[in-house]
Symmetry: C2
Subunit: 231 residues, 2 copies
């Protein structure tokens, strides 16, 4: 494959540093593979192979497998969190009935994620799937730590907004509602294909646009089921 490397006149240091993008290629490959098979299901060889670089370059650029995993999360985390925070801010300006305002907050949590999954390019799609997988990991595996740091305080502001909107609800029930909502999102974004199988192919969990409004209505109804008062 590397045939004809016979005559090499004098290429001094012509393309020294031909790897400004090596680290990015490794990150892209790691993001994609980790999101599909999890931290343990992917080896550095798999990642290096997909990125078409030497195995040990993963080590050179990131230090260890766990550090690489963290780097994958960190690359997009700031934008991810900031974007959700902005969506919440905007939702809080919505006027209307309590149901309308509740749905606005609910939608503000799922829509930025779905938007990035569907229209942010493959990298974002993989990143979101990876987030879902981290959130699903039982207990506090070492590698899941970065996710909690970036995310949990943002969730607090969503819950606070929903508490303000429902002073009549028991505080605990607001927590349960949002917890159930997050659980739905987490599972769905992991793209397990469950709906696809069980509906015999008639509906697809990857039809995220169609899903968002169903989900908003379902969760809003769930709040009513747990005691949210009338408009």
């Amino acid at each position: 494959m590397t045939g004809a490397e016979a005559s090499l006149p004098a290429p001094p240091r012509i393309d020294r540093r031909r790897a400004p993008e090596t680290a990015a290629k490794i990150l892209d490959a790691a993001e994609s593979l980790f999101s599909l098979r999890g931290f343990y299901g992917v080896s550095l060889r798999d990642i290096a192979g997909a990125a078409k670089v030497q195995v040990a370059l993963t080590h050179y650029h990131f230090g260890s497998k766990e550090a690489l995993f963290r780097a994958v999360v960190d690359r997009r985390a700031d934008e991810h969190v900031r974007c959700l925070a902005e969506a919440l801010d905007q939702a809080l300006t919505v006027q209307g009935s309590r149901t309308e305002r509740r749905k606005a907050i609910i939608r503000a949590f799922i829509l930025p994620i779905v938007e990035r999954t569907m229209r942010g390019g493959p990298g974002w799609k993989h990143y979101i799937r990876l987030m879902a997988q981290i959130a699903n990991a039982p207990q506090q595996e070492d590698y899941t730590v970065p996710f909690g740091q970036h995310f949990d305080d943002l969730v607090q502001s969503y819950i606070a907004a929903l508490k303000d909107l429902h002073p009549d609800m028991e505080e605990g029930k607001v927590y349960w509602c949002f917890f159930f909502y997050q659980a739905m999102i987490t599972h769905i974004l992991a793209e397990s294909g469950m709906l696809d199988r069980q509906s015999g192919g008639r509906f697809h969990s990857s039809d995220l646009d169609a899903m968002v409004e169903q989900m908003v209505d379902f969760v809003s109804g769930g709040f009513l089921g747990l005691g949210a008062g009338p408009d």
Copy 2:
């Protein structure tokens, strides 16, 4: 426990096979470890170490790592599925308003699982967590196959019951509701600790008894949000 087997006059092939329980010990250890770290996150050495048997015995008794994983699932799958089927049958005998009947079906899906998790002993707890982890695995990883086989047709009967109860709902919306419900359950049973962190320890996702009724009310409300008609 089986102490005092001293005087055995003529034990021809008496304790040949002193390992009737070796396989069970391996299964128990595998069940526990797989449920915590997934298929890839556990090595046969880990399992053998936890079971206090030689590494290669896992191979002797089960043939391969993947076959062992299947064996773990298969051991309890029949009882698991049968128990859910019975719960559905019983729920369908409930009389009352449509909301009451809907909640009965919803409860019949989560309650048998929670019962086994909480009061079926550690083995069941680990098994349920393992089921959740399989359901969360993206796409069709090889090792996830057994789960789908055992489970999907059972889900069909739940969906059919809910369709019967809601002839006024669009068929697709019933699918979405049940899909959302399953997603919630799946994530929660994986025990991610998300609620525990985000509520500052005030509520625990491991308080399953407290959770069941919240969940039933939430999901029932979700059906209303997606167009289920009045009682």
